[in-house]
Subunit: 134 residues, 2 copies
DNA sequence: CTGGATCCGAGCGGATACTG
DNA sequence: CAGTATCCGCTCGGATCCAG
């Protein structure tokens, strides 16, 4: 294959058939979830996403969008106008995923403080040099 | 710092403060979830994990375990015997996370076929060369 | 406006060898 | 048994340039 690595896309992983990895590989990308969240509000344009996500590069936006599209999580609608107008929207499957994701963020918010404290305690116990003293 | 990169551990990320990334960065690791799943059945020993996860290296097991421990998701109990015996167990916080993870895997299973078909369709439309024909 | 192609650095993760 | 340390490749992801 002269097909160099274009970037993302695990694809031919291990075929672990592990359902856990299945879903995570699909969502673990650095931007996948943020895109899903942004698109959950309704159809959204490429540039809207680009400016809304803040920090994402054009490359990763395109790449991640393609991946999501390939997995049937986002629909891509091209309006044959000039200049071009393309809108992305979640599919029903992605809507369900989004709901589940919400539980995750909920968990994160409910345990954010706990985790922060755990980290601080761990660091203080294992790397005393970095004690901020206070 | 002569402290080369030891491996995992995002740590000083971007401080995006984005709850979504918060939780994902914590679970996105290649093995984190599988370890949580394995430990969800009850306290489990290091070697048990190593042999149970199939494919994980000693290094990543240790590294991921440390990360989970640091975040207060797993507890580490050392039995001062000879030979040493160390057991890992989920904390209540991790138990909750595990429940949430279950929803995710559930979603994955319910949409596995859909996703597979979406991929096949996408690939057929965008990379006709690879048509398996059949 | 929407996106593809290429170049390149950084970090993740694997293999192996060594230690308490 | 339970880790730790080192080397090393591979993929992810950013910057930039080009194109429809």
């Amino acid at each position: 294959m002269s097909q160099r690595n274009t970037g993302v896309t695990p694809q031919v992983v291990n075929a672990h058939a592990c359902p856990v990895r299945e879903v995570l590989d699909r969502v673990a990308g650095k931007w996948s979830v943020q895109i899903l969240v942004a698109a959950a509000q309704g159809p959204i344009r490429f540039t809207e996403l680009e400016r809304g996500i803040e920090g994402i590069s054009r490359r990763m936006l395109t790449l991640t969008l393609r991946q999501l599209e390939r997995d049937g999580l986002v629909g891509r609608t091209v309006h044959p106008t000039v200049p071009p107008k393309v809108e992305y929207a979640l599919t029903p499957a992605a809507d369900e995923l989004y709901e589940t994701l919400l539980r995750l963020t909920d968990w994160a918010e409910r345990h954010r403080v706990y985790i922060a404290e755990s980290r601080a305690a761990y660091d203080a116990a294992h790397d005393p040099d970095r004690r901020v003293d206070a």
